[in-house]
């Protein structure tokens, strides 16, 4: 039953491979087939691996090498699109190493250049996407990356008690949110943790209404019980209300305070106590899924392309051509990025203050955001990849016919066609660009406490066991301390 195929492989095929005109082509074909899929995944892989192994300093060294700089004190001379992403990676590693100044510098530089790329009219890239490779386009950061740049940088400023800088980041986030709300969807524009931190920034700045507006936005994204007390306290200072705020106030049995007067508000012992301070612990665990290049058989590719969320799907004629190629079978692969979970040790965080456990909320499931964003675009990207594959197959058929005409024989022509198609396939670099050092999950813990020294204990747990981190803080009266704790593994 398999005889015709076997005879094809065993005799004419080997004869053709030994033919001097074809001999050199075959190893090149194999090499190209195996090696042509580096892209950003290859650049980011050593950085990611170092972080997964719990070695952030090594990760920093690798990202500096990729940026072609001696140390984190330097910024690269030329900012290209991959450089901007690498600055995001370095900013996150520096944030994890509590070097918040340099982290802010990198985030701000990266944001400036990602913004320019985002605003760029990329006609050549758009055409290249349908002809050559997904990588041909300039990098347009997905919504969650844009919003997280401001969120992470807001955290950098809050960690340094710089409310002015944090307010700037909150406003930048709002500008992007408005844009995303108009251009994409309300869902894309919401980022619970970003709104939570923006609310905290304005609350600590004494701007109750702005704070309440941001907290309402956070509650629209998810329920954060750690916000209830803050919302209750702000309700005494502002009349800003929504159904979500009202629901929280109902849960907290909030009642409008009677107007204060000299007669009804005698000096109490309570008012003589120093004002409490607010602690915010932000625990970051794990690493987000990353993209890796894979060769997907045409049959599986057609299934992915059938689920287009945005944009046009595969046209009827192209679907027929793709099905015809799938039926032919040989070397009809799609170079395509797939989302892979990154190995990490810790996935949960609990926080205690002075030995007492404090309630912790999941501030943001970043890994889930990454998956949702990928699921919403992968069908569209696959359609472009299939169109490119059809173009390659047509070129290969032309080469095969030309090879036969030039006297290379049937098998020789076929191999020449395969070689050309293999080279084009290898040159089709899947777009594996994404911000890979983001934490998979970010937890948020909030506590009010008396001024003075306190011990904060953060317990990280997951597949890698448990790890306890202890921090000493000095809470100012009526002030705040923001403590980002990162375990990027």
């Amino acid at each position: 039953m398999n005889r015709p195929l076997l005879s094809f492989v065993n005799r004419p095929f080997i004869r053709a491979v030994n033919c001097p005109c074809i001999k050199g082509v075959f190893p090149v074909l194999i090499f190209l087939f195996l090696s042509g899929c580096g892209g950003y995944a290859a650049t980011a892989e050593p950085i990611r691996t170092a972080l997964s192994a719990g070695r952030p300093e090594k990760g920093l060294q690798k990202v500096n090498e990729a940026l072609d700089v001696e140390s984190e004190k330097e910024v690269p001379d030329d900012i290209e699109e991959e450089t901007a992403l690498l600055l995001c990676e370095r900013g996150t590693i520096l944030h994890g190493l509590e070097n918040f100044d340099f982290s802010s510098r990198d985030y701000e530089l990266a944001e400036k250049h990602l913004e320019l790329l985002d605003l760029q009219n990329d006609t050549a890239g758009d055409i290249g996407k349908w002809l050559f490779s997904d990588d041909a386009t300039v990098y347009k950061a997905p919504a969650y990356e844009k919003l997280l740049l401001n969120t992470m940088n807001m955290l950098n400023y809050l960690a340094r008690s710089d409310l002015e800088g944090a307010r700037v980041e909150a406003r930048r986030m709002t500008t992007i949110q408005k844009y995303l709300d108009n251009e994409e969807s309300e869902q894309a524009s919401l980022i619970g943790l970003g709104s939570y931190l923006a609310g905290f920034t304005f609350e600590m700045s004494g701007r109750a209404e702005d704070a309440m507006r941001y907290y309402d936005e956070a509650l629209k994204y998810d329920d954060y019980p750690t916000l209830y007390l803050a919302v209750k306290s702000l309700a005494d200072q502002t009349g800003y209300r929504t159904k979500r705020i009202d629901a929280v106030l109902k849960k907290m049995n909030w009642q409008q305070a009677p107007p204060a007067s000299a007669e009804t508000a005698p000096e109490s012992a309570e008012s003589e106590k120093p004002a409490k301070g607010t602690l915010l612990v932000i625990s970051e665990t794990g690493l987000v899924p990353h993209k890796e290049a894979m060769r997907i058989p045409i049959g599986a590719a057609l299934v992915i392309a059938a689920h287009v969320v945005h944009g046009p799907g595969l046209t009827g004629p192209n679907r027929s051509k793709a099905n015809r190629l799938a039926a032919k079978g040989l070397l009809k692969w799609i170079n395509f990025p797939v989302l892979k979970n990154t190995r990490h040790s810790f996935s949960n965080a609990t926080v205690g203050v002075d030995g007492e456990k404090i309630h912790t909320d999941l501030g943001l499931n970043v890994a889930q955001k990454v998956k949702q964003a990928w699921d919403s675009i992968k069908g569209t990207l696959m359609v472009a990849a299939i169109v490119r594959m059809i173009a390659r197959a047509l070129i290969a058929e032309g080469t095969e016919a030309a090879g036969k005409g030039a006297g290379a024989g049937g098998v020789g022509g076929l191999l020449m066609g395969l070689a050309v198609e293999g080279a084009l396939t290898a040159a089709d670099t899947p777009d594996t660009r994404s911000w890979v050092t983001l934490p998979a999950k970010i937890f948020v813990t909030r506590a009010e406490m008396v001024p003075g020294e306190h011990t904060v204990t953060i317990i990280l747990s997951g597949k890698g066991g448990t790890k306890t981190i202890t921090k000493k803080i000095n809470m100012p009266a009526g002030g705040f301390v923001v403590l980002p704790v990162s375990a990027l593994r």
């Binding site: 605003l119 002015e164 307010r167 700037v168 500008t175 408005k178 004494g206 301070g277 100012p476 002030g479």
Partner: protein, 193 residues
């Protein structure tokens, strides 16, 4: 022939790299925008507009009649924008100070003295400097008036454009009464098209 080609290639490569320049060598250097933030040219425009208005105001006319001139404190200009321009705004404070001193219309409280107070206030208020409390701080510094301001912006973007409209408000406030004695707004727009 080969050497000539190599020299041409070398010259081509050398001319590709960035070069350090002085503003005097590149007269256009200060002219074009490099970001949507505020640069020297923007700050000069905003400040000139406000200072011209201030210098022709009734309150400055009163000060000019006084001998010695009144003691004035200059407080930080609050950054209410979506750009990190605190350093630029601090530079603006020095410019205001210089113009006031050189104009001979006021005695200015030393920046070091008021910086210490502002830092103390910032610490007490968890990082926030509340300029509405300026009268209290002004009294502590022995000033009769204080000059302050705020920069706001309206930042918007579309798929392929971004626009930031800046507004610099400046005020002179009477420490005793808390009354605003002069106020002006200057504005400019920057963008990416």
């Amino acid at each position: 022939m080969r050497i000539t080609i190599l020299m041409i290639i070398a010259l081509f490569l050398v001319s590709c790299g960035p070069t350090y320049v002085r503003g005097s060598e590149e007269p256009e250097l200060d002219e074009y925008a490099m970001s949507t933030g505020l640069d020297k040219k923007d700050l000069e425009k905003l400040l000139d507009e406000n200072m011209n208005s201030m210098m022709s105001s009734a309150v400055i006319a009163e000060w000019k009649k006084e001998s010695p001139p009144p003691i004035v404190a200059i407080f930080p200009i609050a950054n209410e924008t979506s750009e990190h321009i605190s350093n630029e705004l601090n530079a603006l404070l020095s410019d205001i100070e210089t113009r006031m001193i050189n104009g001979g219309v006021a005695q200015i409280v030393s920046r070091e003295k008021q910086d210490a107070l502002i830092q103390e206030v910032r610490k007490q208020q968890g990082g926030a400097f509340d300029s509405s409390q300026g009268a209290v701080y002004g009294r502590q510094l022995g000033a009769r008036f204080f000059i302050t301001g705020k920069v706001y912006d309206t930042s918007e973007r579309t798929e392929d454009e971004k626009r930031v409209q800046y507004y610099l408000f400046m005020q002179i406030i009477d420490v005793e009464t808390g009354l605003v004695r002069w106020q002006n707004k200057a504005e400019l727009t920057k963008g990416i098209l």
